[in-house]
Protein backbone atom coordinates (compact mmCIF):
# COMPACT_ATOMS: atom_id res chain seq x y z
CA UNK A 1 0.00 0.00 0.00
CA UNK A 2 1.22 3.50 -0.85
CA UNK A 3 1.44 6.39 1.51
CA UNK A 4 -0.43 9.25 -0.23
CA UNK A 5 1.86 11.98 1.09
CA UNK A 6 5.04 10.14 0.06
CA UNK A 7 3.51 9.38 -3.35
CA UNK A 8 2.72 13.06 -3.92
CA UNK A 9 6.30 14.02 -3.03
CA UNK A 10 7.65 11.36 -5.36
CA UNK A 11 5.41 12.60 -8.15
CA UNK A 12 6.92 16.05 -7.60
CA UNK A 13 10.26 14.40 -8.37
CA UNK A 14 11.53 14.40 -4.77
CA UNK A 15 13.04 10.90 -4.89
CA UNK A 16 16.36 11.91 -3.37
CA UNK A 17 14.68 13.90 -0.58
CA UNK A 18 12.19 11.14 0.28
CA UNK A 19 14.81 8.40 0.25
CA UNK A 20 17.36 10.32 2.31
CA UNK A 21 14.66 11.62 4.72
CA UNK A 22 16.13 15.05 5.21
CA UNK A 23 14.19 17.95 6.75
CA UNK A 24 10.46 17.86 6.15
CA UNK A 25 10.86 14.57 4.31
CA UNK A 26 11.81 12.78 7.50
CA UNK A 27 9.11 10.28 8.48
CA UNK A 28 9.39 8.87 11.96
CA UNK A 29 9.34 5.06 12.14
CA UNK A 30 6.85 3.79 14.74
CA UNK A 31 9.14 1.01 15.96
CA UNK A 32 12.32 3.13 15.85
CA UNK A 33 11.06 6.72 16.16
CA UNK A 34 14.43 8.40 15.65
CA UNK A 35 14.87 6.60 12.31
CA UNK A 36 13.48 7.60 8.92
CA UNK A 37 10.75 5.16 7.84
CA UNK A 38 12.62 4.07 4.72
CA UNK A 39 10.48 0.94 4.29
CA UNK A 40 7.40 3.14 3.86
CA UNK A 41 9.14 5.24 1.18
CA UNK A 42 10.55 2.28 -0.77
CA UNK A 43 7.20 0.49 -0.51
CA UNK A 44 5.49 3.52 -2.06
CA UNK A 45 8.14 3.62 -4.81
CA UNK A 46 7.48 -0.05 -5.61
CA UNK A 47 3.72 0.44 -5.68
CA UNK A 48 4.11 3.29 -8.18
CA UNK A 49 6.55 1.17 -10.21
CA UNK A 50 3.70 -1.25 -10.96
CA UNK A 51 2.24 1.45 -13.25
CA UNK A 52 5.39 3.17 -14.53
CA UNK A 53 8.30 0.75 -14.08
CA UNK A 54 10.89 2.44 -16.32
CA UNK A 55 10.30 6.00 -15.15
CA UNK A 56 10.26 5.04 -11.45
CA UNK A 57 13.32 2.77 -11.74
CA UNK A 58 15.29 5.54 -13.45
CA UNK A 59 14.40 8.12 -10.78
CA UNK A 60 15.19 5.65 -7.98
CA UNK A 61 18.55 4.80 -9.56
CA UNK A 62 19.54 8.47 -9.97
CA UNK A 63 18.65 9.26 -6.36
CA UNK A 64 20.63 6.24 -5.11
CA UNK A 65 23.72 7.27 -7.05
CA UNK A 66 23.59 10.67 -5.35
CA UNK A 67 23.02 9.18 -1.91
CA UNK A 68 25.84 6.64 -2.21
CA UNK A 69 28.37 9.47 -2.39
CA UNK A 70 26.97 11.15 0.70
CA UNK A 71 26.34 8.27 3.07
CA UNK A 72 27.14 4.60 2.65
CA UNK A 73 24.95 3.81 5.66
CA UNK A 74 21.88 5.49 4.14
CA UNK A 75 22.58 3.83 0.80
CA UNK A 76 22.88 0.34 2.33
CA UNK A 77 19.76 0.96 4.38
CA UNK A 78 17.79 1.77 1.23
CA UNK A 79 19.17 -1.22 -0.71
CA UNK A 80 18.44 -3.50 2.21
CA UNK A 81 14.86 -2.16 2.43
CA UNK A 82 14.47 -2.64 -1.32
CA UNK A 83 15.64 -6.26 -1.12
CA UNK A 84 13.30 -7.02 1.81
CA UNK A 85 10.32 -5.44 0.06
CA UNK A 86 11.16 -7.00 -3.31
CA UNK A 87 10.71 -10.34 -1.57
CA UNK A 88 7.55 -9.53 0.40
CA UNK A 89 5.78 -7.44 -2.28
CA UNK A 90 7.12 -9.43 -5.24
CA UNK A 91 7.75 -6.23 -7.19
CA UNK A 92 11.12 -5.53 -8.78
CA UNK A 93 12.70 -2.36 -10.15
CA UNK A 94 14.73 -2.25 -13.32
CA UNK A 95 18.05 -1.52 -11.57
CA UNK A 96 21.41 -3.27 -11.65
CA UNK A 97 22.56 -4.15 -8.16
CA UNK A 98 26.01 -5.17 -9.45
CA UNK A 99 26.58 -1.60 -10.64
CA UNK A 100 26.09 -0.36 -7.08
CA UNK A 101 28.58 -2.92 -5.78
CA UNK A 102 31.17 -1.63 -8.26
CA UNK A 103 30.35 1.96 -7.39
CA UNK A 104 30.76 1.24 -3.68
CA UNK A 105 34.17 -0.33 -4.27
CA UNK A 106 35.30 2.83 -5.99
CA UNK A 107 34.17 5.08 -3.17
CA UNK A 108 36.69 5.68 -0.47
CA UNK A 109 35.01 5.02 2.85
CA UNK A 110 36.99 6.92 5.46
CA UNK A 111 37.37 5.35 8.86
CA UNK A 112 36.88 8.66 10.64
CA UNK A 113 33.67 9.53 8.79
CA UNK A 114 31.54 7.10 10.82
CA UNK A 115 31.04 6.47 14.51
CA UNK A 116 31.61 2.98 15.90
CA UNK A 117 27.85 2.46 16.00
CA UNK A 118 27.52 3.44 12.32
CA UNK A 119 30.46 1.20 11.37
CA UNK A 120 28.70 -1.66 13.13
CA UNK A 121 25.45 -0.94 11.29
CA UNK A 122 27.24 -0.66 7.94
CA UNK A 123 29.03 -3.97 8.55
CA UNK A 124 25.77 -5.72 9.49
CA UNK A 125 23.89 -4.33 6.49
CA UNK A 126 26.64 -5.09 3.98
CA UNK A 127 26.93 -8.63 5.37
CA UNK A 128 23.15 -9.08 5.08
CA UNK A 129 23.13 -7.77 1.51
CA UNK A 130 26.09 -9.95 0.51
CA UNK A 131 24.27 -12.95 1.95
CA UNK A 132 21.18 -12.24 -0.13
CA UNK A 133 22.87 -10.92 -3.27
CA UNK A 134 26.09 -12.75 -4.18
CA UNK A 135 27.34 -10.11 -6.61
CA UNK A 136 27.02 -7.38 -4.00
CA UNK A 137 30.47 -7.37 -2.47
CA UNK A 138 32.33 -4.59 -0.72
CA UNK A 139 35.26 -4.59 1.67
CA UNK A 140 35.03 -1.95 4.32
CA UNK A 141 38.23 -0.23 5.55
CA UNK A 142 37.72 -1.31 9.16
CA UNK A 143 37.26 -4.90 8.01
CA UNK A 144 40.83 -4.80 6.68
Amino acid sequence: MSNPRVLSWLKEGKFYECLSGKGKFFLSDYSYPSEHDILLVVSTVLEWAKDEPEFVSDKFDKALRKIIEESVLTFLNIISSYLILKKSKKIELDINIKDYANLLQSIKVHNDKYSDQEKYQISCLSAAIKKGVPEFDIVLPWQG
Binding site: M1, N3, S28, Y30, D37, L40, I84, C124, L125
Partner: protein
Amino acid sequence: MNREILAETDSQLADPNLSSTERTALKSSKFAIENAAPDNWYDVVTNVMPTNAIKNVVKKVGTKALGNAGDVAKGAEKMSVMPHPFSEGGTHITTSDKLELYKQRGATTYGPDTGLYVVPKKQADALLSKAKTRKDIEVGLGLKEGSLSDGKLIRVDIDNPLDRKLRLPDPKTGNEFHRPRTGLTTGNLNEAVIDAPTVGIKGARKSIVRGK
Protein backbone atom coordinates in the same frame (compact mmCIF):
# COMPACT_ATOMS: atom_id res chain seq x y z
CA MET B 1 -9.32 20.23 27.21
CA ASN B 2 -10.20 19.88 30.90
CA ARG B 3 -13.61 21.39 30.27
CA GLU B 4 -14.30 18.98 27.41
CA ILE B 5 -13.31 15.99 29.51
CA LEU B 6 -15.41 17.20 32.45
CA ALA B 7 -18.44 17.67 30.19
CA GLU B 8 -17.93 14.17 28.81
CA THR B 9 -17.60 12.79 32.35
CA ASP B 10 -20.85 14.53 33.38
CA SER B 11 -22.70 13.04 30.43
CA GLN B 12 -21.33 9.57 31.28
CA LEU B 13 -22.39 10.02 34.91
CA ALA B 14 -25.94 10.71 33.74
CA ASP B 15 -26.15 7.15 32.42
CA PRO B 16 -28.53 5.29 34.80
CA ASN B 17 -27.04 1.94 33.83
CA LEU B 18 -23.64 2.66 35.39
CA SER B 19 -22.47 0.21 38.03
CA SER B 20 -21.49 1.64 41.40
CA THR B 21 -17.82 0.91 40.64
CA GLU B 22 -18.00 2.74 37.32
CA ARG B 23 -19.81 5.64 39.00
CA THR B 24 -17.14 5.88 41.71
CA ALA B 25 -14.38 5.74 39.12
CA LEU B 26 -15.95 8.52 37.06
CA LYS B 27 -16.54 10.69 40.13
CA SER B 28 -12.97 10.09 41.18
CA SER B 29 -11.67 11.08 37.78
CA LYS B 30 -13.82 14.21 37.82
CA PHE B 31 -12.61 15.13 41.27
CA ALA B 32 -9.02 14.51 40.29
CA ILE B 33 -9.32 16.63 37.15
CA GLU B 34 -10.86 19.48 39.13
CA ASN B 35 -8.29 19.33 41.91
CA ALA B 36 -5.10 17.76 40.60
CA ALA B 37 -2.07 19.88 39.95
CA PRO B 38 -1.90 20.90 36.26
CA ASP B 39 1.18 18.83 35.65
CA ASN B 40 -0.40 15.53 36.60
CA TRP B 41 -4.07 15.74 35.72
CA TYR B 42 -3.56 14.08 32.36
CA ASP B 43 -2.03 11.03 34.05
CA VAL B 44 -5.24 10.68 36.02
CA VAL B 45 -7.42 11.04 32.95
CA THR B 46 -5.45 8.59 30.85
CA ASN B 47 -5.17 6.05 33.65
CA VAL B 48 -1.46 5.76 33.14
CA MET B 49 -1.03 5.99 36.91
CA PRO B 50 -4.48 6.72 38.30
CA THR B 51 -4.16 5.47 41.84
CA ASN B 52 -0.99 7.36 42.68
CA ALA B 53 -2.26 10.55 41.10
CA ILE B 54 -5.51 10.42 43.04
CA LYS B 55 -3.72 9.58 46.27
CA ASN B 56 -1.45 12.57 45.73
CA VAL B 57 -4.49 14.81 45.41
CA VAL B 58 -5.96 13.42 48.62
CA LYS B 59 -2.65 13.88 50.42
CA LYS B 60 -2.30 17.42 49.16
CA VAL B 61 -5.81 18.67 49.88
CA GLY B 62 -6.76 16.48 52.85
CA THR B 63 -10.06 14.63 53.11
CA LYS B 64 -11.47 16.66 56.02
CA ALA B 65 -11.40 19.92 54.12
CA LEU B 66 -13.16 18.40 51.18
CA GLY B 67 -16.72 17.99 52.47
CA ASN B 68 -18.68 15.90 50.00
CA ALA B 69 -15.69 15.77 47.74
CA GLY B 70 -13.88 14.06 50.60
CA ASP B 71 -16.20 11.10 50.26
CA VAL B 72 -15.31 10.88 46.62
CA ALA B 73 -11.65 11.06 47.56
CA LYS B 74 -12.08 8.20 49.99
CA GLY B 75 -13.77 6.31 47.18
CA ALA B 76 -10.79 7.11 45.02
CA GLU B 77 -8.45 5.65 47.60
CA LYS B 78 -10.49 2.48 47.60
CA MET B 79 -9.97 2.37 43.87
CA SER B 80 -6.42 1.18 44.56
CA VAL B 81 -7.76 -2.27 43.66
CA MET B 82 -8.64 -1.01 40.17
CA PRO B 83 -6.32 -2.76 37.71
CA HIS B 84 -3.76 -0.63 35.93
CA PRO B 85 -4.37 -0.76 32.14
CA PHE B 86 -0.88 -2.13 31.60
CA SER B 87 -1.00 -4.60 34.50
CA GLU B 88 -1.97 -7.43 32.18
CA GLY B 89 0.83 -6.72 29.74
CA GLY B 90 1.70 -4.42 26.88
CA THR B 91 1.84 -4.98 23.14
CA HIS B 92 3.83 -3.44 20.30
CA ILE B 93 2.45 -4.06 16.81
CA THR B 94 4.89 -4.08 13.90
CA THR B 95 5.76 -6.06 10.75
CA SER B 96 8.22 -8.81 9.86
CA ASP B 97 9.83 -6.48 7.28
CA LYS B 98 10.61 -3.87 9.95
CA LEU B 99 12.04 -6.48 12.31
CA GLU B 100 14.14 -7.91 9.47
CA LEU B 101 15.56 -4.50 8.51
CA TYR B 102 16.56 -3.60 12.06
CA LYS B 103 17.97 -7.08 12.66
CA GLN B 104 20.16 -6.51 9.59
CA ARG B 105 21.24 -3.23 11.14
CA GLY B 106 22.46 -5.06 14.21
CA ALA B 107 19.54 -4.38 16.56
CA THR B 108 19.37 -6.81 19.48
CA THR B 109 16.26 -5.30 21.09
CA TYR B 110 12.67 -4.67 20.05
CA GLY B 111 12.84 -0.90 19.60
CA PRO B 112 15.59 1.64 20.22
CA ASP B 113 17.35 2.89 23.37
CA THR B 114 14.78 5.68 23.63
CA GLY B 115 12.05 3.10 24.26
CA LEU B 116 9.36 0.99 22.65
CA TYR B 117 5.78 2.21 22.11
CA VAL B 118 3.20 -0.14 23.63
CA VAL B 119 -0.55 -0.27 24.16
CA PRO B 120 -2.24 -2.41 26.85
CA LYS B 121 -2.39 -6.05 25.76
CA LYS B 122 -6.18 -6.19 26.21
CA GLN B 123 -6.68 -3.12 24.06
CA ALA B 124 -4.37 -4.58 21.40
CA ASP B 125 -6.40 -7.81 21.47
CA ALA B 126 -9.61 -5.83 20.98
CA LEU B 127 -8.13 -3.71 18.20
CA LEU B 128 -6.79 -6.73 16.32
CA SER B 129 -10.04 -8.63 16.61
CA LYS B 130 -12.16 -5.63 15.59
CA ALA B 131 -9.96 -4.35 12.73
CA LYS B 132 -10.97 -5.53 9.30
CA THR B 133 -7.85 -4.24 7.55
CA ARG B 134 -4.34 -3.20 8.45
CA LYS B 135 -5.39 0.36 7.75
CA ASP B 136 -7.86 0.08 10.65
CA ILE B 137 -4.97 -0.97 12.88
CA GLU B 138 -2.85 1.96 11.66
CA VAL B 139 -5.67 4.38 12.46
CA GLY B 140 -6.21 2.82 15.89
CA LEU B 141 -2.53 3.17 16.76
CA GLY B 142 -2.14 6.60 15.17
CA LEU B 143 0.32 5.52 12.47
CA LYS B 144 0.96 6.88 9.00
CA GLU B 145 -0.97 5.15 6.23
CA GLY B 146 1.03 2.21 4.93
CA SER B 147 3.18 1.85 8.07
CA LEU B 148 2.05 -1.73 8.62
CA SER B 149 1.30 -2.67 5.03
CA ASP B 150 4.24 -4.89 4.10
CA GLY B 151 5.40 -8.26 5.43
CA LYS B 152 3.64 -10.31 8.07
CA LEU B 153 1.82 -8.48 10.85
CA ILE B 154 3.66 -9.13 14.11
CA ARG B 155 2.76 -8.49 17.73
CA VAL B 156 5.38 -8.32 20.45
CA ASP B 157 3.79 -9.01 23.85
CA ILE B 158 5.58 -7.83 26.96
CA ASP B 159 4.43 -9.54 30.16
CA ASN B 160 5.24 -6.83 32.65
CA PRO B 161 5.67 -3.39 31.11
CA LEU B 162 5.39 -1.84 34.59
CA ASP B 163 8.85 -3.27 35.35
CA ARG B 164 10.27 -1.57 32.27
CA LYS B 165 9.98 2.05 33.34
CA LEU B 166 6.55 2.62 31.80
CA ARG B 167 6.22 6.30 30.90
CA LEU B 168 4.29 8.71 28.71
CA PRO B 169 5.76 9.03 25.21
CA ASP B 170 8.07 11.97 24.62
CA PRO B 171 6.32 14.25 22.10
CA LYS B 172 9.68 14.63 20.34
CA THR B 173 9.48 10.98 19.26
CA GLY B 174 5.85 11.15 18.15
CA ASN B 175 4.62 11.40 14.59
CA GLU B 176 2.13 13.95 13.21
CA PHE B 177 -0.75 12.07 14.85
CA HIS B 178 0.82 12.19 18.30
CA ARG B 179 -1.42 13.71 20.97
CA PRO B 180 1.07 15.27 23.40
CA ARG B 181 0.50 14.68 27.12
CA THR B 182 -2.67 12.66 26.61
CA GLY B 183 -1.15 9.17 26.63
CA LEU B 184 -3.75 8.28 24.00
CA THR B 185 -3.55 7.28 20.36
CA THR B 186 -5.88 8.64 17.68
CA GLY B 187 -7.94 5.49 18.27
CA ASN B 188 -8.15 6.38 22.00
CA LEU B 189 -5.96 3.50 23.11
CA ASN B 190 -3.69 4.06 26.09
CA GLU B 191 -0.18 4.52 24.81
CA ALA B 192 3.09 4.42 26.71
CA VAL B 193 6.78 3.83 26.19
CA ILE B 194 8.87 1.19 27.97
CA ASP B 195 12.55 0.29 28.02
CA ALA B 196 13.07 -1.82 24.91
CA PRO B 197 13.24 -5.56 25.72
CA THR B 198 16.05 -7.71 24.35
CA VAL B 199 15.00 -10.08 21.57
CA GLY B 200 14.50 -13.56 23.01
CA ILE B 201 14.35 -12.40 26.64
CA LYS B 202 11.85 -14.16 28.91
CA GLY B 203 8.65 -12.12 29.17
CA ALA B 204 8.75 -10.66 25.64
CA ARG B 205 7.22 -12.81 22.93
CA LYS B 206 6.93 -12.26 19.20
CA SER B 207 4.06 -13.83 17.26
CA ILE B 208 2.43 -13.52 13.86
CA VAL B 209 -1.06 -12.03 13.72
CA ARG B 210 -2.98 -14.36 11.42
CA GLY B 211 -5.63 -13.29 8.96
CA LYS B 212 -4.71 -9.59 8.68
